[in-house]
Structures are given as structure tokens and as C-alpha cells.
Subunit: 392 residues, 2 copies
Amino acid sequence: MPEVFPPDSVGLVSPQLFTFDTPLELSCGRNLQNYELMVETYGELNADKNNGVLICHALSGHHHAAGYHSTADTKPGWWDAYIGPGKPIDTRHFFVVSLNNIGGCHGSTGPRTINPETGQLWGKHFPPLRVRDWVTSQAKLADKLGIAQWAAIVGGSLGGMTAMRWALEYPERLRHCVVIASAADLTAQNIAFNELARRAIRSDSDFHDGDYLEHDTIPRSGLALARMIGHVTYLSDALMEERFGRELRSGTFQQGLDAPIEFQVESYLRHQGDRFATDFDANTYLLMTKILDYFDLAREYGGDPIKAFSHALCNFLVVSFSSDWRFAPARSREIVKSLIAADKNVAYAEIQSDMGHDAFLLPNARYEGVFRAYMTRVAKEIDTFTTEEDAL
Amino acid sequence: MPEVFPPDSVGLVSPQLFTFDTPLELSCGRNLQNYELMVETYGELNADKNNGVLICHALSGHHHAAGYHSTADTKPGWWDAYIGPGKPIDTRHFFVVSLNNIGGCHGSTGPRTINPETGQLWGKHFPPLRVRDWVTSQAKLADKLGIAQWAAIVGGSLGGMTAMRWALEYPERLRHCVVIASAADLTAQNIAFNELARRAIRSDSDFHDGDYLEHDTIPRSGLALARMIGHVTYLSDALMEERFGRELRSGTFQQGLDAPIEFQVESYLRHQGDRFATDFDANTYLLMTKILDYFDLAREYGGDPIKAFSHALCNFLVVSFSSDWRFAPARSREIVKSLIAADKNVAYAEIQSDMGHDAFLLPNARYEGVFRAYMTRVAKEIDTFTTEEDAL
């Protein structure tokens, strides 16, 4: 609970709801007659409107990426370590836009909002989405903000997939694409973990086939278990060993009791799961994990990622983390290899970290250094460009 | 369904139930007044009774390790690849003993059997067990069979933990200890996966706090999910990729349907989970995973595995598999290092395999070669020993 916000924080921020009245055509063939996006922005859009940086969130993310909603907040936004004055995504140079994607549960149109055609909650009837639908809705948001071209689109994990899809769908609308801890598609193992999480939710008797809100309940234990499955796989073995080892919650390894002995790691997971179950929506979780599973960068390009990337016009920064086994460095190297083969400009960094997939969210000096260096270059391009324009 | 059994099969086998009327003192302080063990044996016990090989099963294993129960069986026992005439555990030389451990659900005393003191099913009231309780009950079985000393005790995973515990508890009762795909204790990550599985079971509304049989039901979906979680983690990423990749069950990636598209890997997991839910008991699964979590080879030796192993008198073979990430080669190397420091005779092989933890159950030429070479030496010792004895 900061009395005074740190000097490198964007400080107090307020989300804004953007309303769109033109129908959004979805890749499934249906459309959203109108929709809303919950958005936060940090920094100022310059006169040339060429300093916009779009943040794409991951599976359980949302619009609140940096700063605080009130002085009572115990934690800042989810990517506060990397967004702010003097941070890699430097709000002294960039106008940063962060939104909750459609299908989400943090204010944008999704299962927890009303379907205007029925007057009922969308719930499980929310249309199936693809990453490209997010890209389309984000492009409409850019239009509304007057941003013809983003300085950079940045995302980790599912957010990295979104950034890559942007580079193929609207090549002329971004100059840089930053893809962190991501992949061109999910492996079978990743799909399997997502299916376990979905099954945990669907098996909860409080799920009511997706109509839990109509039954005035939520599938709390299923959602908690789903999150716990995700959480275990987002961490590395080494990190868990270091944090928890075989430490017992009680401190003693009493035998002879029917009451089960609990290891610290069990207690930690239960806490994480329970917290998530309170904050997140089950139908959104099902929808989002399916979007992850279906994502296949090169599918419409004959399965050839080189052919896919040949459509891109931007420069790329690709980052992976050594202990990330759900989006392993090998998957990032595949992206880099395809980009090189497609003759694109790409920088790649593989960061040493024990933090697993979650590393992309956490402080790490080397990661910060690479990220900062790249974004400084992006910022310098803008300044040069602006100066040249001004000089005309 | 073999019309004729393969020549290297032990062929048709029948389990036998052994009854013990002397109370078994458990490490929790309680005891089993009497108990039964479901046992299979393959090969013949020699006159010197020194050719016994004990097989210790893993989490979901049982007594049926080799051969067929009937000509209608579609599959042989779980370790048939390694037990039989001419196989590494060669039944022409060895008298192989394989049992369902107490607490199991395949015929030995456990949650699915009657507590003689109450006349009711044990269910969730079955006493908590430790690996050492299995060792004690197996020693009583050896007594009954007249086996004072095993030629070898062999086990994979939890079975490897059991074999190691034997070496410390009854050092004079085994000449060789074969520890495959095991560890001296579980990592925090492994405990976490077990806790996810337990939570899946306990969250099932059909679990009824463990009293599901009294409610004439079983927690089918919870048990299936528990197994699916285990299964995903027992396989390697590479194997899943090779077997399933991103193949779709329907063959087509149709969009625009609310009905979810299903990947092959999802369908496979569902099938595995459902089959397990039919065959296995939920209380046994909870009990067994706790036994795994609690196992800590060196705890009573001040946490020092060298001190622990200094009590052993037997020789050791330790085997690990390159792609096994739940019982990683590094964990086997820790065992080997401690054995060497304790001045014990140990052979170690790290086998290249894409099969993950399940590799210990599956055919693999290199593994078979190492295993065969070691067991041939064990067999030769017996023959020599017998011949020397005969010559007196």
C-alpha cells in the first residue's frame, strides 16, 4: 500500500470503457453487434500519433498492466516491472495502450456481460474466438485512438501470439513486434494441460454446464484446480524446489495421524487457486484456453511459418527463458529461424532464469537490459522521425 | 488375445491370496490385526531358496506383473516386457514374486476390503501407510515363502523407493537392489502434481468425503482427471508431440461451431482417464500418492543419504531415463553419488528414451541390455553359490 507511488511508477491510473457500435465480424462467422473494451493508457500520445505501444495480455491477464487504481492497492498492475517512466516500456516516450480482450472477464465484452440481443448474460453462449478476433478488435481501438501505426506491439505467451498475428494481419500498422515466451502454436503437451484445466472446471458440479451464474453459484473448486494446474506448470521445478522444497506447513512430520500432513507447496497452491477462483470467470477460462489451443500461426499459409512471416513488414524482438518448459526456448528459436529464413530483421535473447514461464512477468536484470535496449531504439526512431517531419 | 502364448512369456498365471494372522505393526503406531496379500509368482524357488526376486510395484501397479490370467486377455501383466524365460528377469533362473501392496485395490488388504474389527469396508479409514510398512509386510511374505535372502529386489518409481527402503531396513535380506526411475524423495513439483490429483478426486461431488461406496457411487470424473494429470506428466513432451502433435480428432479444423474442436491428445487422455476410473479405487489413490510424498530415504538418518546408505550391504543397479522429468536422471545421480560416497557397489545407466517416466515399463533395447547384463550376473552368483554348496 504505497503512501507515495515510486518515482518510476505511472502512478494512479483509471480504466476507460470504449464502446464500439459497428459490428465486429468474428472468424467463426458470427458477429458482435456492438462491444466494449476496458482500456488503460499510460504516457501521452504525441502529435504525430506514432509513439503508441500496444500491450497484449496473456491467458489470465487484463487491462491493468501498470500503476495503481487507488492508494489502497497492495500491488500495481501485472507488468508494472516493465512499464513506467525510465522502465523498458518508457512512458516518457511511449503512449502505452493496454486493454482487456473481448471474451475476458475484466470489463470488456465477454461471458460476464449482457448479450444485447437477448438481454441475458452471454455466459457459455459467447461466440468462440480466435486470436485474430482480438487483433481485429484492437485495430478498431487503434482507429478510435487515431493510431494508424503502432511503434510496437508487445506481448508475452498468448500475448506474443497476438503480437505475431498483428504482424501478419496488419503488416503496415506496426513497426516492431515484441514476442516474449511464446510459440507459433501449442505443443500436444500444452494442449493436454489446458484440457486438464478445462476438465477440472467442467467436472465441478457447480459448473452447471456453464450456466453457473443462473444458479447463483460459481465452480469455485474447479476453477481453483484449473489455476493450480496452470500454476504448477508455469513455474520451474528448480524454483519450486528453492521456494518450498519439502518444507512442511506444520513444521513437524508427525506420523500416526489421519489428518494429512501438508507440505508448504500444497498450501501455497491452494491459496493461489482459491484467490483465482474468486477473481476469474470460468467461461472466460474455457474460452481463453481454447483460443490458445487453436492458435496456429502458419495454418492458413500452408503450415509454412516462413511463408507466413514473409507477410510481415516490422522488426522483431523475440525473448525466451531457460527454465520455461511450457513455452520453451526451442519454440522461440523456431520463430527466429523462420523470421531469418523470411529475411526479416530479428533480435533474439534467451534469458537465464529459474522462474519458468512466469519469468516474463518478473524482474530480471538481463531481461530488463535486453528489453530496455530494444525499446530505446524504438523510441529513438520515433524522435528522429518526428524531428524529420517537423523539419519539413 | 494370444491363442498360443509367446515362448518368452511365463504363460498362464494365477494369483494366490496369502493370509497373515499375526498383527502388522504400522509406522503410524496403529496395526493391522490380520491382513491378506495378493501374490503372483513366476519360475521355481530352488532348493537353496536363494533365487527369489521381489518385484515392487509403482503407484498404480499391482501383483499381475507378467503372463496372462486367461487366453482371453488382450494384454499381459504390466512388466511382461522384462519378466519371463529369456527376459532380463529370467524365470528360468529366478523365482519371481510380485504382490499387490497393502493399501492397494487389487485384492490385498486395503480401502476396498473389510476391516475385521468393524465388519465394514475400510474405505477412507484405512490407516496411513509409509513405504516401510510395505517393506515389513513383504518381509513377512518372504518368511512365509521361506526366503531368508532375496537374490534381488527390483522396482521402478515408487517401487524403486520400496527397494531402497528394503536395503536399509533389512540389509542382510537382499543381495541386489535394482532402483529404476526413482528418487530419494519427491521434489516440490512432484508433490504439487500429486496434490492436484488428490484435489481432483476430493472435489468430485461423488467422492462424499471418501464414503463414496456407502453412497453406491465412485468419484469417476475426479479419479479420471487425477489419472490424466499423472499421465501427462509421465509422458515426455517429445513423445506427446510425436504421437499426437496437433492432430484433430475430426480431421478438420471447422470454425463457426460452438461444439469444441477436439485434438487427438484430448481424446486419448479422456480414454485413459475413464479406463483408470473404472479399474482403480479413489481412496487407494489418495493413500498411495501420500506414501510417495512422505517418502524420504534419509530423514531418520539426519537427512544424510550417505549415512542412510552406509547401512546397506547389497549391490545396486540404478537406472534413469533421459526424458523422465518427474524422476529425472539428476535424481538418480544423487542416489548414485551417495552410494559411492558410502562405499557401496553401484552400477548406473542413464538410458536415452523419449518415453518419459513411463519408459521404465516399456521396451527399449539399451535398457533391456543393461538390465539383462546385470541380472545375468545376479543369476550366475546363484548358480556358483549353489554349485559350491552342492560340492561341500
